[in-house]
Protein backbone atom coordinates (compact mmCIF):
# COMPACT_ATOMS: atom_id res chain seq x y z
CA UNK A 1 0.00 0.00 0.00
CA UNK A 2 2.70 2.45 1.09
CA UNK A 3 4.90 1.50 -1.87
CA UNK A 4 2.18 2.53 -4.32
CA UNK A 5 1.90 6.00 -2.77
CA UNK A 6 5.51 6.84 -2.17
CA UNK A 7 8.88 5.87 -3.62
CA UNK A 8 9.93 3.87 -0.53
CA UNK A 9 13.48 3.31 -1.82
CA UNK A 10 14.06 7.05 -2.28
CA UNK A 11 12.39 7.73 1.07
CA UNK A 12 14.65 5.22 2.84
CA UNK A 13 17.73 6.65 1.10
CA UNK A 14 16.61 10.09 2.16
CA UNK A 15 16.27 9.02 5.82
CA UNK A 16 19.69 7.30 5.80
CA UNK A 17 21.34 10.29 4.07
CA UNK A 18 19.71 12.65 6.60
CA UNK A 19 21.00 10.59 9.53
CA UNK A 20 24.53 10.32 8.10
CA UNK A 21 24.75 14.00 7.05
CA UNK A 22 23.09 15.39 10.18
CA UNK A 23 25.10 13.36 12.66
CA UNK A 24 28.24 13.59 10.52
CA UNK A 25 28.36 17.39 10.28
CA UNK A 26 27.90 17.88 14.04
CA UNK A 27 30.50 15.22 14.81
CA UNK A 28 32.99 16.71 12.33
CA UNK A 29 32.52 20.18 13.79
CA UNK A 30 32.95 18.87 17.35
CA UNK A 31 36.19 17.13 16.26
CA UNK A 32 37.34 20.42 14.69
CA UNK A 33 36.84 22.24 18.01
CA UNK A 34 38.47 19.36 19.93
CA UNK A 35 41.49 19.39 17.57
CA UNK A 36 41.99 23.16 17.80
CA UNK A 37 41.59 23.15 21.59
CA UNK A 38 43.99 20.21 22.11
CA UNK A 39 46.50 21.51 19.57
CA UNK A 40 46.71 24.87 21.39
CA UNK A 41 46.98 23.17 24.78
CA UNK A 42 49.73 20.77 23.64
CA UNK A 43 51.65 23.62 21.99
CA UNK A 44 51.51 25.56 25.28
CA UNK A 45 52.90 22.49 27.06
CA UNK A 46 55.63 22.19 24.36
CA UNK A 47 54.44 18.73 23.31
CA UNK A 48 55.04 19.34 19.63
CA UNK A 49 54.18 15.90 18.26
CA UNK A 50 50.81 15.78 20.01
CA UNK A 51 50.13 19.39 19.01
CA UNK A 52 50.83 18.49 15.37
CA UNK A 53 48.63 15.38 15.54
CA UNK A 54 45.74 17.37 17.04
CA UNK A 55 46.28 20.06 14.42
CA UNK A 56 46.12 17.44 11.66
CA UNK A 57 42.88 16.06 13.13
CA UNK A 58 41.44 19.59 13.19
CA UNK A 59 42.53 20.15 9.57
CA UNK A 60 40.86 16.90 8.49
CA UNK A 61 37.66 17.83 10.32
CA UNK A 62 37.79 21.32 8.76
CA UNK A 63 38.02 19.77 5.29
CA UNK A 64 34.98 17.58 6.03
CA UNK A 65 32.98 20.62 7.25
CA UNK A 66 34.07 22.77 4.28
CA UNK A 67 33.33 19.91 1.87
CA UNK A 68 29.86 19.51 3.40
CA UNK A 69 29.14 23.23 2.88
CA UNK A 70 30.24 23.01 -0.78
CA UNK A 71 28.14 19.83 -1.23
CA UNK A 72 25.14 21.59 0.32
CA UNK A 73 25.43 24.49 -2.12
CA UNK A 74 25.82 22.05 -5.03
CA UNK A 75 22.62 20.26 -3.91
CA UNK A 76 20.81 23.62 -3.81
CA UNK A 77 21.94 24.59 -7.30
CA UNK A 78 21.37 21.23 -9.00
CA UNK A 79 18.05 19.98 -7.62
Amino acid sequence: MLATLVDTKALLQSVVASLVAGIGITTAFAILIFGISRSAEMARNERTALATAAGALATLAFLVVAGSIVLGIVVMTTK
Binding site: D7, Q13, S14, G22, I23, T27, A30, G72
Partner: protein, 365 residues
Protein backbone atom coordinates in the same frame (compact mmCIF):
# COMPACT_ATOMS: atom_id res chain seq x y z
CA UNK B 1 -9.96 44.02 -17.97
CA UNK B 2 -11.53 42.14 -15.04
CA UNK B 3 -9.10 39.24 -15.43
CA UNK B 4 -6.18 41.69 -15.41
CA UNK B 5 -7.44 43.16 -12.12
CA UNK B 6 -7.65 39.64 -10.62
CA UNK B 7 -4.11 38.96 -11.90
CA UNK B 8 -2.76 42.10 -10.22
CA UNK B 9 -4.53 41.11 -6.98
CA UNK B 10 -3.11 37.56 -7.19
CA UNK B 11 0.44 38.86 -7.76
CA UNK B 12 0.11 41.30 -4.84
CA UNK B 13 -1.37 38.56 -2.60
CA UNK B 14 1.44 36.17 -3.59
CA UNK B 15 4.00 38.77 -2.54
CA UNK B 16 2.14 39.31 0.75
CA UNK B 17 2.25 35.54 1.30
CA UNK B 18 5.98 35.58 0.49
CA UNK B 19 6.46 38.36 3.06
CA UNK B 20 4.57 36.36 5.72
CA UNK B 21 6.60 33.28 4.73
CA UNK B 22 9.87 35.11 5.41
CA UNK B 23 8.43 36.75 8.53
CA UNK B 24 7.07 33.45 9.87
CA UNK B 25 10.15 31.36 9.06
CA UNK B 26 12.86 33.78 10.28
CA UNK B 27 12.85 31.75 13.48
CA UNK B 28 14.10 28.64 11.66
CA UNK B 29 17.32 30.41 10.79
CA UNK B 30 17.95 32.83 13.64
CA UNK B 31 16.20 31.56 16.80
CA UNK B 32 18.97 29.24 17.97
CA UNK B 33 21.71 31.77 17.03
CA UNK B 34 20.01 34.55 18.99
CA UNK B 35 19.27 32.25 21.94
CA UNK B 36 22.92 31.17 22.29
CA UNK B 37 24.24 34.71 21.60
CA UNK B 38 26.01 33.53 18.45
CA UNK B 39 24.71 36.75 16.83
CA UNK B 40 22.90 39.87 18.09
CA UNK B 41 19.19 39.79 17.07
CA UNK B 42 19.27 42.58 14.44
CA UNK B 43 22.49 41.29 12.87
CA UNK B 44 21.02 37.77 12.80
CA UNK B 45 17.83 38.81 10.97
CA UNK B 46 19.79 41.08 8.58
CA UNK B 47 22.18 38.21 7.79
CA UNK B 48 19.27 35.80 7.26
CA UNK B 49 17.42 38.33 5.07
CA UNK B 50 20.47 38.92 2.85
CA UNK B 51 21.07 35.18 2.38
CA UNK B 52 17.36 34.55 1.76
CA UNK B 53 17.56 37.15 -1.04
CA UNK B 54 20.68 35.53 -2.53
CA UNK B 55 19.17 32.05 -2.13
CA UNK B 56 16.19 33.01 -4.27
CA UNK B 57 18.50 33.43 -7.27
CA UNK B 58 20.40 30.13 -6.80
CA UNK B 59 17.95 27.83 -8.58
CA UNK B 60 14.62 28.17 -10.41
CA UNK B 61 14.16 24.45 -10.99
CA UNK B 62 11.08 23.96 -8.83
CA UNK B 63 9.44 27.34 -9.39
CA UNK B 64 6.59 25.88 -11.41
CA UNK B 65 5.84 22.84 -9.28
CA UNK B 66 3.67 24.36 -6.54
CA UNK B 67 0.88 21.90 -5.66
CA UNK B 68 1.99 19.68 -8.57
CA UNK B 69 0.73 16.09 -8.09
CA UNK B 70 -1.46 17.36 -5.23
CA UNK B 71 -4.30 19.02 -7.16
CA UNK B 72 -5.52 18.53 -10.73
CA UNK B 73 -3.73 21.30 -12.63
CA UNK B 74 -6.70 21.74 -15.03
CA UNK B 75 -8.88 23.17 -12.23
CA UNK B 76 -6.37 25.86 -11.22
CA UNK B 77 -7.62 29.35 -12.03
CA UNK B 78 -6.44 32.73 -10.78
CA UNK B 79 -9.32 32.70 -8.25
CA UNK B 80 -8.27 29.26 -6.94
CA UNK B 81 -4.68 30.51 -6.56
CA UNK B 82 -5.90 33.69 -4.84
CA UNK B 83 -8.11 31.76 -2.40
CA UNK B 84 -5.27 29.32 -1.65
CA UNK B 85 -2.92 32.21 -0.90
CA UNK B 86 -5.46 33.84 1.42
CA UNK B 87 -5.87 30.53 3.30
CA UNK B 88 -2.08 30.27 3.73
CA UNK B 89 -1.67 33.92 4.80
CA UNK B 90 -4.47 33.66 7.40
CA UNK B 91 -2.96 30.47 8.89
CA UNK B 92 0.57 31.97 8.88
CA UNK B 93 -0.67 35.06 10.72
CA UNK B 94 -2.74 33.02 13.21
CA UNK B 95 0.21 30.76 14.11
CA UNK B 96 2.52 33.80 14.30
CA UNK B 97 0.08 35.45 16.74
CA UNK B 98 0.26 32.41 19.04
CA UNK B 99 4.03 32.09 18.53
CA UNK B 100 3.74 28.64 16.94
CA UNK B 101 6.28 27.51 14.33
CA UNK B 102 4.29 25.81 11.53
CA UNK B 103 5.06 25.08 7.90
CA UNK B 104 4.36 27.91 5.42
CA UNK B 105 4.69 25.39 2.56
CA UNK B 106 2.03 23.13 4.04
CA UNK B 107 -0.18 26.19 4.59
CA UNK B 108 0.16 27.09 0.89
CA UNK B 109 -0.53 23.52 -0.24
CA UNK B 110 -3.49 23.27 2.16
CA UNK B 111 -4.91 26.58 0.94
CA UNK B 112 -4.70 25.57 -2.73
CA UNK B 113 -6.15 22.09 -2.01
CA UNK B 114 -9.08 23.63 -0.14
CA UNK B 115 -9.77 26.17 -2.88
CA UNK B 116 -9.52 23.50 -5.62
CA UNK B 117 -11.88 21.26 -3.60
CA UNK B 118 -14.40 24.11 -3.29
CA UNK B 119 -14.08 24.85 -7.02
CA UNK B 120 -14.35 21.33 -8.45
CA UNK B 121 -15.07 18.85 -5.68
CA UNK B 122 -13.02 15.94 -4.40
CA UNK B 123 -11.98 14.86 -7.92
CA UNK B 124 -9.72 17.96 -8.05
CA UNK B 125 -7.61 16.67 -5.15
CA UNK B 126 -5.02 14.02 -5.98
CA UNK B 127 -5.09 12.23 -2.63
CA UNK B 128 -2.29 9.79 -3.49
CA UNK B 129 0.03 12.72 -4.30
CA UNK B 130 -1.07 14.56 -1.16
CA UNK B 131 -0.29 11.51 0.99
CA UNK B 132 2.97 10.53 -0.73
CA UNK B 133 4.45 13.97 -1.38
CA UNK B 134 3.20 15.93 1.63
CA UNK B 135 1.76 13.90 4.52
CA UNK B 136 4.26 11.02 4.82
CA UNK B 137 7.33 13.31 4.55
CA UNK B 138 5.62 15.68 7.03
CA UNK B 139 5.37 12.88 9.61
CA UNK B 140 8.91 11.61 8.97
CA UNK B 141 10.69 15.01 8.90
CA UNK B 142 10.42 15.98 12.58
CA UNK B 143 11.04 12.39 13.74
CA UNK B 144 14.26 12.10 11.70
CA UNK B 145 15.38 15.57 12.84
CA UNK B 146 14.60 14.67 16.47
CA UNK B 147 16.68 11.47 16.27
CA UNK B 148 19.55 13.27 14.47
CA UNK B 149 19.53 16.13 16.98
CA UNK B 150 19.51 13.73 19.97
CA UNK B 151 22.33 11.51 18.66
CA UNK B 152 24.40 14.46 17.39
CA UNK B 153 24.34 16.36 20.68
CA UNK B 154 25.44 13.28 22.63
CA UNK B 155 28.34 12.68 20.24
CA UNK B 156 29.30 16.36 20.41
CA UNK B 157 29.26 16.37 24.22
CA UNK B 158 31.29 13.15 24.21
CA UNK B 159 33.97 14.69 21.95
CA UNK B 160 34.31 18.17 23.50
CA UNK B 161 33.10 17.38 27.03
CA UNK B 162 36.55 17.73 28.61
CA UNK B 163 37.58 20.87 26.70
CA UNK B 164 37.41 24.37 28.16
CA UNK B 165 33.83 25.70 27.95
CA UNK B 166 34.97 29.07 26.58
CA UNK B 167 36.66 27.52 23.54
CA UNK B 168 33.79 25.09 22.96
CA UNK B 169 31.10 27.80 23.15
CA UNK B 170 33.02 30.17 20.86
CA UNK B 171 33.57 27.34 18.38
CA UNK B 172 29.92 26.24 18.26
CA UNK B 173 28.73 29.86 18.05
CA UNK B 174 30.94 30.35 14.98
CA UNK B 175 29.52 27.10 13.61
CA UNK B 176 26.02 28.47 14.10
CA UNK B 177 26.85 31.45 11.88
CA UNK B 178 27.82 28.99 9.12
CA UNK B 179 24.90 26.58 9.62
CA UNK B 180 22.46 29.50 9.90
CA UNK B 181 23.80 30.85 6.61
CA UNK B 182 23.24 27.49 4.91
CA UNK B 183 19.71 27.33 6.28
CA UNK B 184 18.95 30.86 5.09
CA UNK B 185 20.25 30.06 1.59
CA UNK B 186 18.22 26.84 1.45
CA UNK B 187 15.13 28.64 2.73
CA UNK B 188 15.48 31.42 0.13
CA UNK B 189 15.95 28.84 -2.62
CA UNK B 190 12.98 26.65 -1.61
CA UNK B 191 10.41 29.11 -0.37
CA UNK B 192 10.90 32.14 -2.66
CA UNK B 193 10.52 29.72 -5.57
CA UNK B 194 7.05 28.78 -4.36
CA UNK B 195 5.93 32.39 -4.73
CA UNK B 196 7.64 32.62 -8.12
CA UNK B 197 5.72 29.45 -9.08
CA UNK B 198 2.40 30.89 -7.90
CA UNK B 199 2.90 34.16 -9.80
CA UNK B 200 4.05 32.32 -12.93
CA UNK B 201 1.03 30.00 -12.66
CA UNK B 202 -1.30 33.03 -12.48
CA UNK B 203 0.43 34.70 -15.46
CA UNK B 204 0.02 31.51 -17.52
CA UNK B 205 -3.61 31.02 -16.40
CA UNK B 206 -4.34 34.63 -17.44
CA UNK B 207 -2.72 34.15 -20.85
CA UNK B 208 -0.05 36.76 -20.08
CA UNK B 209 2.73 34.16 -20.38
CA UNK B 210 3.07 30.99 -22.44
CA UNK B 211 3.18 27.76 -20.42
CA UNK B 212 6.74 26.94 -21.54
CA UNK B 213 8.17 30.40 -20.79
CA UNK B 214 10.91 30.97 -18.22
CA UNK B 215 10.08 32.68 -14.93
CA UNK B 216 10.23 36.44 -15.72
CA UNK B 217 13.11 38.28 -14.06
CA UNK B 218 10.80 40.79 -12.35
CA UNK B 219 9.04 37.84 -10.69
CA UNK B 220 12.37 36.50 -9.36
CA UNK B 221 13.43 39.92 -8.02
CA UNK B 222 10.07 40.73 -6.43
CA UNK B 223 9.77 37.29 -4.77
CA UNK B 224 13.35 37.48 -3.48
CA UNK B 225 12.75 40.99 -2.14
CA UNK B 226 9.44 40.11 -0.43
CA UNK B 227 10.84 37.06 1.42
CA UNK B 228 13.99 38.98 2.41
CA UNK B 229 11.94 41.91 3.70
CA UNK B 230 9.67 39.57 5.67
CA UNK B 231 12.71 37.83 7.13
CA UNK B 232 14.23 41.16 8.16
CA UNK B 233 11.05 42.18 9.99
CA UNK B 234 11.34 38.92 11.96
CA UNK B 235 8.50 37.02 13.59
CA UNK B 236 9.74 37.63 17.12
CA UNK B 237 6.96 35.65 18.80
CA UNK B 238 8.03 32.47 16.97
CA UNK B 239 11.72 33.28 17.51
CA UNK B 240 11.05 33.37 21.27
CA UNK B 241 9.20 30.02 21.15
CA UNK B 242 11.86 28.30 19.05
CA UNK B 243 14.85 29.88 20.80
CA UNK B 244 13.90 29.79 24.46
CA UNK B 245 10.50 28.24 25.16
CA UNK B 246 11.09 24.65 23.92
CA UNK B 247 14.46 24.24 25.67
CA UNK B 248 17.04 26.56 27.17
CA UNK B 249 19.88 25.70 24.87
CA UNK B 250 23.64 26.06 24.91
CA UNK B 251 25.78 26.72 21.83
CA UNK B 252 26.44 23.00 21.17
CA UNK B 253 22.70 22.26 21.23
CA UNK B 254 22.06 25.26 18.98
CA UNK B 255 24.59 24.00 16.45
CA UNK B 256 23.33 20.40 16.65
CA UNK B 257 19.76 21.53 15.97
CA UNK B 258 20.71 23.97 13.22
CA UNK B 259 23.62 22.12 11.58
CA UNK B 260 21.83 18.79 11.72
CA UNK B 261 18.67 20.53 10.44
CA UNK B 262 20.47 22.01 7.44
CA UNK B 263 22.06 18.64 6.65
CA UNK B 264 18.71 16.81 6.93
CA UNK B 265 16.96 19.36 4.69
CA UNK B 266 19.62 19.26 1.98
CA UNK B 267 20.10 15.47 2.09
CA UNK B 268 16.34 14.91 1.76
CA UNK B 269 16.07 17.52 -0.97
CA UNK B 270 18.77 15.65 -2.91
CA UNK B 271 16.60 12.51 -2.88
CA UNK B 272 13.47 14.38 -3.99
CA UNK B 273 11.79 14.85 -0.60
CA UNK B 274 11.89 18.56 0.14
CA UNK B 275 10.96 18.79 3.82
CA UNK B 276 9.47 21.58 5.89
CA UNK B 277 12.32 23.70 7.29
CA UNK B 278 10.14 24.59 10.28
CA UNK B 279 9.37 20.99 11.19
CA UNK B 280 12.99 19.89 10.77
CA UNK B 281 14.43 22.69 12.92
CA UNK B 282 11.73 22.33 15.59
CA UNK B 283 12.33 18.56 15.68
CA UNK B 284 16.08 19.17 15.84
CA UNK B 285 15.69 21.62 18.75
CA UNK B 286 13.52 19.11 20.67
CA UNK B 287 15.99 16.30 19.89
CA UNK B 288 19.01 18.36 21.00
CA UNK B 289 17.18 19.14 24.25
CA UNK B 290 15.93 15.61 24.90
CA UNK B 291 19.36 14.17 24.00
CA UNK B 292 20.89 16.09 26.89
CA UNK B 293 18.03 15.62 29.35
CA UNK B 294 14.49 14.50 28.49
CA UNK B 295 12.98 16.67 31.22
CA UNK B 296 14.78 19.74 29.78
CA UNK B 297 12.21 19.87 26.97
CA UNK B 298 9.01 21.75 27.77
CA UNK B 299 6.74 19.07 26.37
CA UNK B 300 3.63 21.24 26.75
CA UNK B 301 5.10 23.79 24.32
CA UNK B 302 6.30 20.96 22.05
CA UNK B 303 2.78 19.48 22.12
CA UNK B 304 1.22 22.81 21.08
CA UNK B 305 3.65 22.96 18.14
CA UNK B 306 2.74 19.42 17.04
CA UNK B 307 -0.98 20.31 17.23
CA UNK B 308 -0.28 23.35 15.00
CA UNK B 309 1.48 21.05 12.49
CA UNK B 310 -1.53 18.69 12.46
CA UNK B 311 -3.95 21.58 11.97
CA UNK B 312 -1.97 23.41 9.26
CA UNK B 313 -3.24 21.53 6.20
CA UNK B 314 -6.94 21.28 7.20
CA UNK B 315 -7.11 24.81 8.63
CA UNK B 316 -5.47 26.45 5.60
CA UNK B 317 -7.64 24.25 3.34
CA UNK B 318 -10.79 25.37 5.17
CA UNK B 319 -9.79 29.05 4.82
CA UNK B 320 -8.93 28.52 1.14
CA UNK B 321 -12.30 26.83 0.53
CA UNK B 322 -14.20 29.57 2.38
CA UNK B 323 -12.39 32.29 0.44
CA UNK B 324 -13.10 30.56 -2.87
CA UNK B 325 -16.76 30.12 -1.92
CA UNK B 326 -17.03 33.81 -1.04
CA UNK B 327 -15.37 34.91 -4.31
CA UNK B 328 -17.62 32.54 -6.25
CA UNK B 329 -20.68 34.41 -4.97
CA UNK B 330 -19.60 37.32 -7.19
CA UNK B 331 -19.09 35.18 -10.30
CA UNK B 332 -15.89 35.26 -12.31
CA UNK B 333 -15.19 38.98 -12.09
CA UNK B 334 -12.81 40.84 -9.77
CA UNK B 335 -15.43 41.86 -7.17
CA UNK B 336 -14.85 38.82 -4.93
CA UNK B 337 -11.05 39.15 -4.62
CA UNK B 338 -11.42 42.93 -4.16
CA UNK B 339 -13.92 42.40 -1.32
CA UNK B 340 -11.60 39.85 0.34
CA UNK B 341 -8.69 42.31 0.10
CA UNK B 342 -10.81 45.06 1.66
CA UNK B 343 -11.80 42.71 4.52
CA UNK B 344 -8.13 41.83 4.99
CA UNK B 345 -7.03 45.47 5.08
CA UNK B 346 -9.83 46.33 7.52
CA UNK B 347 -8.81 43.44 9.82
CA UNK B 348 -5.18 44.59 9.66
CA UNK B 349 -6.21 48.18 10.53
CA UNK B 350 -8.25 46.96 13.53
CA UNK B 351 -5.36 44.78 14.74
CA UNK B 352 -2.78 47.56 14.41
CA UNK B 353 -4.98 50.16 16.09
CA UNK B 354 -5.56 47.78 19.06
CA UNK B 355 -1.81 47.13 19.31
CA UNK B 356 -1.13 50.89 19.24
CA UNK B 357 -3.61 51.45 22.06
CA UNK B 358 -2.10 48.65 24.15
CA UNK B 359 1.61 49.35 23.65
CA UNK B 360 4.02 51.51 21.60
CA UNK B 361 4.82 50.20 18.08
CA UNK B 362 7.30 47.33 18.41
CA UNK B 363 10.49 47.30 16.35
CA UNK B 364 9.62 43.88 14.92
CA UNK B 365 6.94 41.19 14.71
Amino acid sequence: MSSDVVLVIVVATALVFDFTNGFHDTANVVATSISTHAMPPRIAVGYAAALNFVGAFISLAVAATVAKDVVDSSVITTTVVFAGLVGAIVWNLATWYFGLPSSSSHALIGGVVGAAFAASGSAAVESAGLLGKVLIPAVLAPIVAFVVGAIAINLAYGIVGRERPGVVNRGFRLGQVLSGGMLALAHGTNDAQKTMGVITLALVANGSLSSDADVPFWVVVSAASAIALGTYFGGWRIIRTMGTRIIKMDAAQGFSAQGAGAAVILASSHYGFPLSTTQVISGGVMGAGAGKQVSAVRWGVAGNIVVAWLLTLPAAAAMGALTYGFCDLFGNDAAGPIMVCLFGLAALAVFLSRRLREEPLPTGG
